[in-house]
Assembly symmetry: D2
Homo-oligomer: 431 residues x 4
């Protein structure tokens, strides 16, 4: 990712656009010059030297003009009049930027796929590994760890779909000149874009920044998911819970003070970086605010936020993929935690049983189960026993009915349906 | 839009979901009760009374439980055991919310279409009305006002496309119970969602907030475009520019101090509100951070940001549509402003001419035109005359060549191409 | 707080400023008219009627002009020429807004003080109640619950200090007219501001929005602290931890599905709302971007974000104060949790002991303790016993040395110092 | 600024803290070892080598542990047991970070002072240079360019005050160990902090992030002001306005396409970067959300946002100072622009005159002036002449009264008062 966003790559893209423009004009018969096949590769690019031409005393104060001053003398003399002919800086600048964004998003898509493959593998590994589902940090009802991961896979599938739709909007280029009115004929733009794998878009000189702002918001959404998943890992590693643990290498230290520590530092790290990515949205929205046909307030801003956001999302996707791969998972502890509330996690089934069998309105069934369950919560008593001991309950349902409410497998019976939904053929990534 | 987001509508959606769930169970033979066809409409909803059941001393402290306490007694007794049976609050709550979001986005799409129709009409009205294109607030080259509006239309077309893609992700519902493991069989969910026009999605109790965060970011992107367009209007109304003016009613006052004022207040107003919409992205990203299977930190937040963002985007789209419709446009002034730099706006054509006719490398042609143009900028001299008077120029090109550079119509010759691109058949909205 | 931000209050403040301006001019001898002492109170304000004058067909389209049209006829005829004389809308509008902000911040300060008093009381209640300190969600070393709360008190003390410093910048007014050049003499401004308890500030018509943006950022910082504290409560209520519990009223329901639930919903609710408050920072920063001497893009925006942010911070401060007051705290469970790692939480003391007594470099002492502690972490063995059984340790330190490392009270010996730091005389709020 | 935030400087600060801690313990008689006076400077720091110790196969995976492994062998053997004794990573890490922040803020204060000195100089240069004040982009009433700059100076004075108040909160350190309970006695912390120029603060291991979030929000507020000022420059450089121009070096290019261009690129650049700075607020707020006693989600985030925000604010303050210094200002054009509305900018004076002399209620005086002024706005007629020609006006006031309304100097008569307010002794920076 660093390479895509390097200064060298940025300038290389300008060469590509400017050479293709000349080539298109020749193809259309606008100019009759011979353009060497390997022209693009014979042009030397030295980012430092070009910056020097821009910033030195008496320099151009303009990056594309410096680029042209640097490259023009390298061309065969006959081509020099036609170099960047009737083009404006953003013809190569913005088109080149879109090439970078397309490459960058392609890499992010690969990261997403790699992450989804890891999620799929681990979801199947723990498909039938029961653990408690928690809502409001309190035990709710059983799930399996595989189902938790399947939900993440489903969510990442939506992100992949978003990147695909965004990719189509990103894959644009322009050669319509200083204010988008076409100083070169539109068919030059058509040919150049086709060669670059882009689709022409009309502009006001610059490609409208709604597209680039969308790129940043989509990265922010992905980051938001990673942050949620990381939080799940952090909470499951809490000492009282200990249902999983980040890979901890021999010799790795958790604390300079406390030798015993094994911390959830990877998940914490990606959480913080995710928030940094999301914060770039502010500037991305700002960059939509182009004055008149264009201004460059977006330019310096984008040279920070686009590389940084791209590099960070690549980093946290790859790192979190490794984290999930490396998790030590403790099914025994998950099972143990399921028992902590002594049966209260089946209270809904008791409530439904009462509504079913007693003919009580659902709300009265709830109230009845509520009184007993809440008492057990306070005292720590066993819920099933409390039900069996309760005369009102005894008058409504049988002991074997009650027993039937406390069956873990019964709670997990739709796992296959869930997995079919997520890993079936409907998914954006296919099977 | 206010109606969609009313408390009453929210509760009505819960009724819809709960009734459909009962109906689906009957259809599947899970229960054998007669459900009146008009049941949904016979259930009275009184938001105040339900809130009272929640918040009063000894109340439920839980909105769905209060809703159930309020509605259950209204049902035929035989249905009461089956009301909200094996359902969790979010089965009706989140599914109902998605119904609201779908309706809301539909309205926003209508706003976008209405705005695009206005843009199309005014773009064609001013298709051939020349004005100066400005970059970095400085005169660049001629455009037409119609082309400026065509660019906005193109941008709004992308937003429409985004809402279509988002709509598909929004159109989901769930009936999978307390932790998404299906307490009711999945085919109940299937039937209920189908009746509501939704597609089932797996959840962890709540629908993942990446979808809702996306809704907010898309609104933020649209707001960013409106803000840009509004800024264009504000700058064109600047007293020194006066190329357009917001509709100003007879009797309307611009200032309590200064009787002469006619201000660009509508455009300013939508600008500020656009930033408010964008700011909701922060909370929307935060709401992605669900702990474990769910928490309700998102709930109060969403009850502010979703109605407010939706109402504001509806407002600014509709208001800015009216503003654009109402703009007084001054073509004479646009023409006058084109002349302010005495020909400098044709400097690129001179540069290209020199590269074409003299065989000078493009960079030398630029340098030559640059020296003369910059001198004219300083002194206010007429650029064409300065060229004609310049011996170096005379040695390279003929006076008639120079004359040929200063033809306004020449700069506008690709307008039809641009309009074809924007208003042709390819556009998301069709023709 | 709702009252401070009501439309009625807003208009009342305009009356105050305009009456005081007239009075000041009379006092300075600029006009010789009798101004009734109770003039301010005899002027009727009807927000609806004034809005009607602004928005009706043929209305002013300007709020202050509508206000003047409504109020002018209520004045004694001799005063009408002098009403809002040489004043611009923002003379009353912005000065009135600052009055609202000052009142609002005063209320927030009261909320902070009430919260700090609650923190102080509960901190002292649990001053010596040991619990485990956790870093990276993993057990670190013992603290007391009182110390945790003392840290929060310290943090809120900084917020109080921030509000005091902000208050000084907020307490400003202006009467310098349409572009801040003083259409009325500066001594009128001086007198009016003094009567309103404000200090004059120069402006460009409007008071610079850096001040108001600061107000929002300070609210965002406070919200960030509440969100952290709320998260602490949520995590301590996690079923595996159960060190505290939000007050749960008899009859209150935790779930419509699961009768057993007692959830941490208050803390979750304030968390989500805190993020909403922080999100207003985006628009507040935007509002700093005044074009030229002023525009009104800030106006509609501020009419949303300032009331909403103020009302929300007031709400979450008051609600979280009640939550902290209502917490059931379980010292026995805290003590039990301290034992979960079987002594590993004293590993630093063992490391320090080894460095002290054996002359080992600190890093080697760490490595030695690390090997044993990590093995215990894996196996669940008792740390002290493992040390006693270890021959290398035995060669370096005595059994009684080892025993001396495992003394809980030793870890808590500086509590008084900490409490002195927080609740001593240095604190912003005094003692 | 880059140096302050270098990796080398970060590690150097750790050395400082750890050496001072050892020295304090010796001073207190806790250890009896000789500590060379120049110890701090004899310890070699190699950021690359330390990172290698952290990240290599089998490395510490912990930065402070790697730092200790690297530095410990460099100490005299007798000191090695006491190196980082009973300290946790954040004792040196967070204390060192605060040293960086204090240095950074000091540099920012110097930038602010330099900018204010420039504003002061240019404000006095143009103290009496009249220009039109604009509200809602429309001509309002005259100001002077000096007054515009004086307003900016006033605003920067508030920012300076904010940095002073923030500085006090930033100037803190801590040595209270792993969970803030003091593993070393508090008087060690007292001595170390004093030597470092810091004040001890209680912590939960880490210094609470409200302080660091405040640092970022204050930078965001400053950035917001620079963005506003930059916008003013951009708008005044608009070709139709041309009241000022950014310095444009000979040879500097404005466009690769259009040789005539002189653009407002510096102001645009700082505008975009200002928005980037503000965007870091999102992550800074997030970093307040520490879980339990600490987590490291803030750490990676801060290593991006703190250097970047600091470097960017330093850059835009310094660059914009140069921009303001370099502005070519065109008083003749300012004067010319004042005449564009043919007297309408004096409409308020006419309104006030009518209220004064005719006894008309102020609102009727406004209505009368309004009708005439609006007609002139439409037709372009001369306002004074229109008044003189109007029979209703003639019946109320004399021609010489009317003449007296159109005196530019009269509008500027309180300039000295304004300058006294801003540059008098009350200002934070003194005189």
């Amino acid at each position: 990712m660093g390479k895509i966003w390097s200064e060298d790559q940025r300038l290389r893209n300008w060469v590509r656009v400017d050479v293709e423009a000349m080539r298109a004009r020749a193809q259309l018969g606008e100019i009759s010059v011979a353009i060497p096949d390997d022209l693009q590769h014979t042009i030397n690019i030295d980012a430092g030297a070009i910056e020097e031409l821009e910033t030195k005393e008496g320099g151009t104060g303009h990056d594309v003009m410096a680029f042209l001053d640097y490259t023009s003398p390298q061309l065969p003399p006959a081509l020099r009049p036609h170099w960047h002919y009737y083009m404006t800086s953003m013809d190569c600048g913005d088109t080149g930027l879109m090439l970078q964004l397309v490459e960058s998003l392609t890499l992010i898509q690969e990261d997403i796929i790699a992450f989804m493959l890891t999620l799929r593998a681990r979801a199947h590994e723990f498909k039938y590994t029961p653990m408690i589902g928690r809502t409001h940090t309190v035990h709710a009802e059983p799930i399996t760890f595989g189902v938790k991961l399947a939900n993440w896979h489903d969510e990442m599938g939506r992100h992949f779909e978003r990147t695909q739709q965004l990719m189509k909007r990103l894959t644009v280029g322009k050669l319509s000149g200083a204010v988008g009115m076409y100083t070169l004929p539109p068919n030059v733009e058509q040919i150049v874009c086709q060669r670059l794998g882009l689709v022409p878009t009309i502009t006001t000189q610059v490609i409208s920044r709604d597209i680039i702002a969308e790129y940043v918001t989509v990265l922010g959404l992905i980051a938001g998911s990673i942050r949620k998943f990381a939080m799940a890992g952090r909470l499951m590693q809490q000492t009282e819970v200990r249902e999983l643990q980040e890979a901890f290498r021999k010799g790795q230290k958790g604390s300079s003070a406390m030798p015993h520590k094994r911390n959830s530092i990877g998940a914490e790290n990606v959480s913080g970086l995710a928030a940094v990515i999301q914060g770039y949205t502010h500037a991305a929205y700002e960059n939509q605010l182009t004055l008149h046909e264009r201004d460059i307030s977006n330019s310096g801003s984008e040279r920070i936020i686009l590389p940084d956001a791209s590099i960070l999302i690549d980093y946290i996707l790859a790192r979190f993929t490794r984290i999930v791969k490396g998790w030590s998972v403790f099914p025994d502890r998950m099972l143990y935690n399921l028992s902590l509330t002594k049966g209260l996690i089946f209270s809904q089934d008791v409530q439904a049983l009462l509504a079913d069998k007693s003919g009580l309105p659902r709300q009265e069934a709830h109230a009845l189960a509520y009184d007993i369950a809440q008492a057990c919560w306070e005292t720590g008593a066993d819920f099933k026993q409390a039900l069996l001991d309760n005369p009102r309950i005894a008058s409504l349902v049988s002991p074997s009915d009650i027993e039937s409410c406390f069956v873990l497998d019964e709670k997990l019976k739709y796992i296959d349906h869930i997995f079919d939904q997520v890993f079936g053929t409907h998914n954006g990534l296919g099977d």
